[in-house]
Amino acid sequence: MNTLTLNNYTLIIMTDDKQVVLERILQVTRYRGYLINGMTAKVNTGTNIATIELFVSSDRPISLLTDQINKLVDIKSVKVDNSASQLAIPKPPQGTDSAGIRNVLR
């Protein structure tokens, strides 16, 4: 049986606390094909630097996402926190729409 292998990743993103920076990260993450499983965000009001933890999964290599997030102007750094843990999701039988399942997570 075909399986679609989704890897889970935790990204630690340090960013200037600027307008819409969170929206930018979310937009890039969705557009580049990564599912968001959760996130935390907090700002150090002293330094005005926000730390965002982003939990994502995808069958694509994580460097494709970190390189794109890193390009965003306000981002200071992006790190992948854990060694990828594998989560094999069975591909649905032909004819069903796997996007339907993924969209729930988007």
Partner: protein, 554 residues
């Protein structure tokens, strides 16, 4: 100079534009940007009133691409701002430096669904390199400087600055600081070229694959020196056209969906692909896993996110092409391969014999190319005429061939030509358009009329949305759904209504004289060239096929 009126946000905008050497802007006024237009009244910056904000955005793109400067466009809030979006998306996709200024409803009204309020800041996220919404007059100057810097830094792109009306009106003491330089976030490591040198030294059938990044990096001289010193057989993407020397015997032409057979076959057979400022776009690669299937890859790019995005690079070289290309320059022993590719080039040379009296567009465009003065800038729209222009015209610099590459946006050609002509008043500017595309920004004929911009329009008229019709014939059983344009307006009458001299030709015998008449004419000119609606663009790599599976006829 002493100014009696206190400086406002709007006035500050133009001072900063002047500081950045901006002489020309393209735009369209409206309620939420009126204080900026009021300040324009006193400014040295020359404004071109386009007839649609999309026209303004594309003129700014054409201006930037033809001149290497940042293009600037402006629009009011709401519909004005949304009309810019296609131009911003086009600039993002083709990495064009643009600064777009939008008026916004006053800060106090924001978020209240006010008249002509749209969240252009939110909309900008997917179609700009970066964007700002100014929330206080004190940050305006800094933001504007940053917008220019970001537009030009690294891989270039469009930046939007949304300015609420109250901030445009607020008075401000001007400080005239230059922007503090952006932190160089992605510290580029010194390129490790040892792997690349090793690959190149041992390659038997290497190919140089040149993209739009070469022109953007201003590395044309470097890439030409690299090509001639190594003697590498070379190919170009659509956006790379003009970067390589077209008279170099090892230059095989454009690759990809409508590339030359020689270029595609050589790339298919190569054992090393040296990608320079190119990004393995799907229109270039065809079926990705069969693109240059036996090749190792050396990939030069300024943008780390392009490395390994669609094709793993065996030797990535990140950074400035101007610095890095010379590091790999060595002489190679690839005589057999050169001879083989030169032979392919001879075997697959373009042919211009075409039966009957009707005009053959490739021959017309070749002739325009042969007759046009040196340093002519050609823009195109999108469709068959675009591909014929790319195939049959030659350019000696990427800034002389402006086409919407990544977005493939119909409506690009005419306003881009206007922008190009304004940036280069002494050069000839020609736009090659189609009878479908021209109607997408036809209102810009009024801009041409108003400023007497001497753009030449070569309108390839097949009374069809030709490229879509071609695909319907080839891949959809000839079911011609919504691609017929037999009821087009009378283009000669249309041009005449805008005081533009125009001529229609229908026969081969009329071509040469008409091209000369157009090129000799001082002002704007529209040459309508009727062609056979059934003519197709060949060769063609069908969808989901490898580049060596080109079709050469129906």
């Amino acid at each position: 100079m002493t100014d009696s009126k206190p400086l406002t946000g709007g006035g500050l905008l133009f001072k900063v534009l002047e500081q950045h050497g901006v002489n020309h802007v393209f735009g369209y006024p409206g309620g939420a940007i009126m204080p900026i237009y009021d300040a324009l009244y006193d400014s040295e910056v020359q404004h071109f009133l386009c007839r649609h904000e999309q026209g303004a955005a594309f003129s700014a793109v054409g201006y930037a691409r033809a001149s290497g400067k940042v293009g600037v466009c402006m629009a009011t809030s709401g519909p004005g701002a949304t009309n810019l979006i296609t131009g911003l998306a086009d600039a993002l996709a083709d990495s064009i430096p643009l600064v777009a200024i939008t008026g916004q409803v006053p800060t106090a009204a924001m978020g209240s669904d006010a008249f002509q309020e749209i969240d252009i800041f939110g909309l900008s996220l997917a179609c700009t390199k970066h964007s700002f919404q100014v929330s206080h007059i004190d940050e305006l100057e800094k933001v504007l400087h940053q917008a220019f810097e970001i537009a030009l830094e690294g891989r270039q792109g469009p930046v939007l600055v949304d300015i609420p009306k109250d901030i445009q009106m607020a008075s401000i003491e001007q400080t005239f600081k230059t922007a503090s330089p952006l932190k160089n976030k992605v510290k580029l490591p010194l390129a490790d070229i040892s792997k690349a040198l090793d690959l190149l030294t041992h390659a038997k059938q290497p190919i140089l694959y040149v993209g739009g990044g070469v022109g953007m990096a201003n590395a044309i001289e470097e890439v030409r020196t690299f090509a001639s010193k190594t003697g590498l057989p070379s190919v170009s993407t659509l956006k790379g056209l003009g970067a390589l020397n077209t008279s170099d015997k090892n230059y095989l032409g454009m690759l990809g969906m409508h590339g030359t057979k020689a270029a595609n076959l050589a790339v298919h057979d190569c054992d090393l692909l040296i990608a320079v400022g190119a990004r393995f776009d799907d229109r270039v690669t065809g079926k990705l896993d069969q693109f240059a299937p036996d090749a190792k890859v050396i990939h030069f790019d300024i943008d780390i996110s392009e490395i390994n995005k669609r094709r793993i690079a065996d030797a990535p070289i990140l950074g400035d092409l101007k610095e890095n290309l010379p590091l790999l320059t060595l002489s190679l022993n690839i005589k057999n391969w050169q001879e083989k590719t030169q032979q392919m080039k001879r075997d697959c040379a373009w042919r211009y014999d075409h039966p009957g009296e009707q005009i053959f567009a490739p021959a017309v465009l070749k002739e325009v190319s042969d007759l046009m003065p040196e340093n002519t800038c050609v823009t195109t729209d999108v469709g068959q005429h675009q591909m014929w222009a790319a195939q049959h015209m030659s350019f000696d610099d990427p800034s002389n061939f402006l086409t919407s590459g990544s977005m493939g946006t119909m409506g690009f050609g005419l306003p881009a030509a206007i922008g190009a002509q304004i940036s280069r008043p002494h050069d000839t500017v020609i736009t090659v358009s189609g009878d479908g595309s021209i109607m997408m920004n036809v209102q810009e004929l009024a801009t041409i009329k108003r400023y007497q911009i001497p753009v030449k329009v070569v309108l390839i008229d097949n009374e069809k949305l030709g490229m879509v019709r071609q695909w319907q014939d080839l891949f959809f059983d000839g079911r011609l759904s919504e691609t017929d344009l037999a009821d087009n307006p009378d283009f000669i009458m249309l041009a005449t209504a805008f005081d533009i001299k125009a001529k229609l030709i229908t026969k081969k015998s009329e071509v040469t004289a008409a091209i000369n008449e157009m090129l000799d004419h001082d002002g704007p000119y529209l040459l309508q060239v009727k062609i056979d609606a059934k003519d197709n663009v060949w060769p063609l790599v069908p969808p989901n096929s490898a580049n060596n599976e080109m079709m050469e006829s129906a």
